[in-house]
């Protein structure tokens, strides 16, 4: 088919991607945005398939069939609580696909016409580097979120291996760009990049996951853009850079919400000031615990209740019990709000997805800046498995390792009920003096169990 026609189809696809992404930034247009993106993809695929460069369809049909079955089943069956793993895995597949295409291009030097040779080689190397690192990094993130990998190395060895592997990858990449006939160098480049991605993510702790997932999202786009340079294909360059930019914006939002630089997150560092005083001394005699019966009385008289969900809600799959509590309170005339910290959970927007699954209307979800001024008028704030993001030390103690991190000011509520399994510290490994405040009551239990008990008690009143 006429090359101009195909390129026009690619241009139209790129326009659809831009409109699609734009649509995804507003709740009213998001569904249409996603549809436009899918339409653009279909158009790009069809235009490629009718291209005369393609001579045999067997492998294509087989590959598309396998991929469609896996992708569709996975996306339809996955539990909403497993969403962070899914997003991580899909980021990796995108990066992996880009690296493989670069590999295919490396196998047949000179086959790509219309692109300067040096551009093919340099961008193949870049695509292999970014794509392979995205693949292995995402798979590690998947394994950590899935709970099958707990290893979290730190310190000198980690720095040595990740520094060494990325240096090796750059050396191999440069060598390959000069000597593109040496296919083994390309393989070595991919291997080094895979090791780099692995060690880049393995150091990242649970609470930092939102940052790393957003970053991998960005990298999957950059890998596609690099592949676009290999093939001289504008639609790949455009869509890849759009995704790279949007992932980067999310990465920045997440870093800002933790008051940490990307560099600190990648090193897995959080300062060494933690664990100075033992928590027994800090907490002994100063923590008041409560029971579901007692807490039910508090909710009974409250006019405004603010629910603060954290990773503990996700682990306990307590989102439906949360919604039941809200329904119950609302039926008694209480106003219920949800305050969501940007990095609560394991990926950007994690809490929003879970609460949406439980049918919580999204206009009840307050983001941090909207929620904070409302705590002063809140009668009861109930914290569900969130810890560092409500730690007043971040606001009040300049010596604290998390000082400066924006937090939810839950301590300004009349009463704070903290649902938590124990007094163990959160990811930052530091004690939370919120638990010792006069207006704080601890309800020691799994979030789901605690809420079910609480709901029963409120009904019985």
């Amino acid at each position: 088919m006429n090359a101009n026609l195909i390129n026009s189809a690619y241009l139209l696809a790129a326009v659809l991607f831009i409109l699609g992404l734009k649509g995804l930034t507003s709740p009213r247009t998001a569904v249409r945005g996603n549809f436009l993106g899918a339409l653009g993809m279909l158009l790009a695929v069809v235009a490629t398939l009718v291209d005369r460069q393609i001579v045999s369809y067997e492998l294509i049909v087989l590959g598309v069939a396998i991929g469609t079955v896996i992708g569709a089943i996975w996306a339809i069956k996955v539990q909403m609580t497993a969403m962070p793993q899914l997003v991580a895995a899909f980021n990796g597949f995108g990066g992996g696909a880009s690296a493989l295409v670069a590999g295919a291009a490396a196998m047949m030097p000179g086959a790509i016409t219309g692109v300067p040779e040096i551009q093919v080689y340099v961008s193949s190397a870049l695509s292999a580097l970014i794509g392979s690192a995205t693949l292995s990094g995402s798979l590690v993130a998947w394994a950590k979120l899935q709970g099958v990998l707990h290893w979290q190395p730190r310190g000198a060895l980690l720095r040595f291996v990740s520094g060494g592997s990325v240096s090796a990858a750059i050396v191999f990449g440069t060598y390959y760009a000069i000597e593109p006939e040496a296919v083994w160098v390309f393989g070595a480049l991919c291997a080094a990049a895979l090791v780099y991605g692995l060690f880049l993510t393995v150091a990242v702790g649970g609470a930092d996951m939102p940052v790393i997932i957003a970053l991998l999202n960005s990298c999957s786009g950059l890998a596609a853009a690099a592949t676009g340079f290999v093939l001289g294909n504008s639609v790949l360059i455009i869509s890849g850079s759009l995704v790279g930019a949007s992932g980067f914006i999310l990465t920045q939002i997440m870093c800002k919400a933790m008051n940490r630089s990307l560099w600190d997150v990648l090193r897995g560092d959080l300062g060494e000031a933690a664990a100075s005083a033992s928590k027994e001394d800090l907490y002994t005699g100063r923590v008041k615990s409560t029971s579901p019966e007692e807490a039910a009385l508090l909710f009974e008289t409250a006019r405004i209740v603010t629910i603060v969900p954290g990773y503990g809600m996700a682990v306990a799959q307590a989102q439906h019990a949360v919604r039941d509590l809200a329904n119950l309170l609302e039926s008694r005339g209480t106003e219920v709000r949800y305050a969501i910290h940007p990095v609560a959970g394991r990926m950007p927007g994690h809490m929003n997805v879970l609460l949406a699954e439980a049918d919580v209307p999204y206009d009840r979800l307050y983001d941090m800046d909207t929620a904070n001024p409302t705590f002063a008028e809140t009668d009861v704030a109930i914290i569900l498995g969130a810890n560092d993001v409500v730690n007043p030390a971040a606001r009040d103690e300049p010596g604290s390792p998390i000082f400066g991190m924006p937090i939810l000011d839950v301590d300004k509520s009349q009463v704070v009920v903290v649902v938590k399994r124990s007094l163990s510290p959160g990811f930052a490994g530091i004690p939370n003096m919120l638990f010792t405040r006069d207006n704080t009551l601890m309800l020691f239990a799994d979030a789901k169990k605690a809420l079910q008990d609480l709901n029963r008690e409120i009904r019985d009143i």
Partner: protein, 93 residues
Amino acid sequence: MEAFLISVTVFVLAVFVGFEIITKIPSTLHTPLMSGSNAISGIAIVGALVAAGGAGHEVAKYLGFGAVVLATVNVVGGFLITNRMLAMFRRKK
């Protein structure tokens, strides 16, 4: 060199477009934006199709085949899961 500069121009402008259209994003849409944009990054499927179906090197065809599988999972799964999430957000008004 000319072709290279055109590609770089396209790249730089597209990055700016990306930053411009996603300046303000409500946190409710963080996850759908990630999964939706990730599905778009599956555009590598275009290169994968050419590699898998092209008249080239045998090994290149199999690498292309692997890329087709990965990119298709990415594209199909990505758009479907985004749609599923957005349907949850939309249900109640």
